[in-house]
């Protein structure tokens, strides 16, 4: 509903994040939260029948709306995606909690995201459960949390994920496989 203009402040923060200012990324969160929420909200409305949410599309759309006019570098773009992934996680967890709250008394029905397998009838994932497990994993190794945020909540590619984590693609891929195996093991029905 609010049309977000490309925000020079966001670009400035992205650039300082790129030059090593870690706090800049955190300061981005409140600036992009509302727009991401609005976009996610609209896409969930549009795609409700399939219960799908294309997180890549949400994050990219936010990027186009909020940043693209400023033409930052690829690295800045990746940083934006990484922060947006984190925010997406918050937003989706909100949705799940709200849904759960709104169903109080009627039995808990988790908000679900089908994972990406077309036609998979039983592949219903409870994001709240995933979130719980992810928090546990983060205590063991924060990188596992980060890689899942990038890949799953932000729909980022492996290359983008590696860049955002500041590791090689090989390492990021290994982290992703580790995280995925732990989550799969904990969450599969």
């Amino acid at each position: 509903m609010r049309s977000g203009a490309p925000d020079p402040e966001i670009t400035r923060l992205l650039v300082s994040a790129g030059s090593g200012d870690a706090s800049a990324l955190n300061r981005l969160v409140p600036l992009i939260y509302d727009d991401l929420r609005a976009i996610a909200h609209r896409r969930i409305s549009l795609e409700r029948k399939g219960h799908t949410l294309n997180t890549t599309a949400v994050v990219h759309e936010a990027y186009v709306r909020l940043v693209e006019g400023e033409q930052p570098e690829w690295r800045d773009r990746v940083h934006f995606f990484a922060v947006a992934s984190k925010v997406m996680r918050h937003i989706l967890i909100d949705y799940a909690r709200l849904k759960r709250a709104s169903k109080r008394g009627g039995g808990a029905v988790p908000v679900t995201l089908h994972d990406e397998h077309a036609g998979e009838e039983q592949g219903v994932l409870d994001v709240l459960e995933l979130n719980d497990v992810l928090e546990k994993l983060a205590q063991h190794d924060p990188r596992l949390e980060q890689v899942v945020e990038c890949r799953f909540f932000g729909g980022m590619s492996m290359e983008e994920t590696a860049e955002a984590m500041g590791v090689s693609v090989r390492t990021a891929t290994r982290d992703w496989r580790r995280a995925r195996a732990y989550l799969y093991d904990a969450l599969r029905p």
Partner: protein, 901 residues
Amino acid sequence: MSEGERDPDEGRRGYARPAQAHWAEIDALFSQALDLPPTEREALLAESTDNEDVRREVRRLLAADHAAEGFLEGPLDTRSIGTLEDALAMSDGAPPEELDRSGQELGPYRLIRRIARGGMASVYLGERSDGAWSQQVAVKVIRRGLDTEDVLARFRAERQILSSLSHPNVGRLLDGGATPDGQPYLVMEHVDGLPVTDYCDEAKIAIDERLRLFVQVGEAVAHAHRSLVIHRDIKPSNILVTAEGTAKLLDFGIAKLLDPGQWPAPEHRTRTGVRLMTPEYASPEQMTGAPVTTASDVFQLGVLLFRLLTGVSPFDDPDASPRARMPREVDALTPHPSTVLRRTSEARLQEIAAARSTTPDALTRALTGELESIVLKATDADPERRYRSAGAMIDDVQRYLSGHPVEARPAGAIYRTRKFLGRHRWVGPAAALVVLSGAGYVTTVLRHNTALEQERSRAQLEARTAQSVTDFVVGLFGATDPYEGGRAETPARELLDQGADLVLTGSWESPEVYTRLVAAVGQAYSDLDLHGEAVAFLQASLDAQVIPPSDRLSLESMLGYSLVNAGRHTDGIAVLEGTTRSRAALGDTLSNEHLRDLMMISTALFLEGEGEAALRASDRWLDRVRALEDAPDEITLSALDRIFHLAMGDLSYERAQRLAEEKLDYAHAAYPDTTPVVAHAYEDLASSMVREGRYREALEPASKAAELTSAIFGPDHLTSTYATETLASIHLELGEPSEALAIQRDVVSTRIRVLGEEHVIIPMTRHNLARALRAAGFPDEAEPHLEWAIEHTAAAYGMESRLTTVMLEEMGRLRMDQGSLDEAERLLEQVGARHAVSYDATDMRRVVWAVSMAELRDRQQRTDEARALLLESAEALRAAGMTEHALFRRVSEALDRITAR
């Protein structure tokens, strides 16, 4: 909330299970093992640790890694975890822990080691323990949950048929029985090889060679069909290729053997919901539960061929572009292999081509034409239109390999169009259809059932020619919230992507028809807010230069909107200036189209940072909209809404308020109170008044917004809590802290209950509560809330962030009220220094700070400094023309107090 109290470890398997002390060791070994080929992993485990628990956990994780291929994964991964095994395991509830039977003897077989684990079965490498022969076997131990007696009875009946399958490309079923504890097992020929897809990719096997491997598989299937055996589950993981290059098709007839739906026993009838199939490869008959025939195997062979040629499965879209991924429809059209490749990312396409020892161009060429026809014929949704047998399909592949014309013919565009339309005629409440009318005109038709759908349809059709309206439509969608449940949604995106495929790949009777279809797809993408796609299609249709000028104009406008929405503002402005000129030249200066173009130009100007120019431009067209007798309400509304936001963004609050009032009038006239449009209009009016400092006036619309959002969304909804929080802040500014406090307490408890205490919004919420508490005269009660808020905000955004600074300022005022003047001074000076960096001298935040600081100086008996600060603030406010603002009153009153003493 209850789930917050639950121990997340409870009942979980996996990483949480081993003693925490071992986690690091297990994880490190698991990481190392991941880098090794599967065959070397056992050796690593053996040499790394003596702890069998650790080894077992690592094996579990490796198995999970294997099974998790594609789990949580984007569209690039084409494999499915939703296999037979999982379906079966689901139907039996949680699968019991499966013990490793390595070393056990089953009948005449000794199990050497476990080589695979799935939800349905574990597979062991085994050998004859009685030495009758030395060949190694694969022993598949079926998971508990199938009635052993039934399995065995069925197995005995089928075995004779299955064992009659003697073919070099068929993995044979040798024997079967039950374990001492009652689990059925099957003994099969052990094939040492790789799944056919892995084999082909690793050896970079070219297309022709892949076709020859495929022929081996097809011959195995054809052989089985002659024995009246249907495989039912043909997929890469069931086809192993040995080092010698021989393909072996495994698990013949196993799917039928294990499918509870196929069983006569009544207790299994209840499980009809579970169908044993691999969705990616399942034929339409299998998906609907219709009788499965040899035609179903032909379909699966077609899918396999598709996969071998393109590297992806036809029904598992690998496209990296944002598309909705939805369960496939039963009679989904198989996409053209070349289309799928065209949509694949450059990098992925390079990879796919390299794995076939060719270039992307050559690969795309090879997959256009006859090979494509073969795949499409085999995978036709209608069994009657497929190859009549596996043998016929193999013959056609052979004909291709030997350079003879194939039997398969490209399905005509008309046939495919008919299928497309026929399929969607009954799709449901709302279906976007691309249709050709007799005159060659193209329209996007939205069909709807309910009144609400009709409302939306109307709005969407409007949206086709005015992006601004989309914002309005989104406002309307606000009512159908994801957490409100309810209405079925349009799979419009999916239909549209398929429609786009159809347009691009079909052959059409004339360039103009084709071009119009391309344009229609572009328009429809624009409807769905997919502006990148919209720009591409619209630009292509205009470039073709075959559309008559009268129709060109509206397409150009549409292109302009999409460009602006895709972030290409200056390109959009250029296009739209062209269309307004053309329309003016045609004498059209008052049509909706013309006005929309002008509106969009002003929006684009604003997005480009030309706030002044944008407002000037928007004034012009708003005047014209008002002058129109029959301007639709939603156009006027969205126009007002758009300018309202322009004005707020431009800090022209007075004007924003006038616009908000007008918007509210329109919304009232056009919609009932229970719609989000009206609620948001009240909210906007309140917020423009708050920005002007007209708190008393803002009270009424803010109360109304709070009331309406609670009624529409429910009081727990985040939207409702925003509205009530605004109301609380107004009471606070009006010097009514007890009203503010009552409301804010509710907001805090609702948000914590619904969102949890860790949510990003909670620190802000508790800060607001602290403000209300302090103002109501409870500084000590406020203190813990504020401390908590500061701690969490600083942790999240840093000590220097604006949000933290705002909270520190409040802490300064709190300390002042508590009488700790030194502490208050320290905090306020710190905050003042940061404000000086962040804001202009006339910024409200600096004025608010100066008033606080003046109060402190006054209490410190430093009256001159206090007076100087207040005079400075008053001057700044006067200079900004804000003498009507409530803040100016506060400053004046404080000055009067000091002067009076």
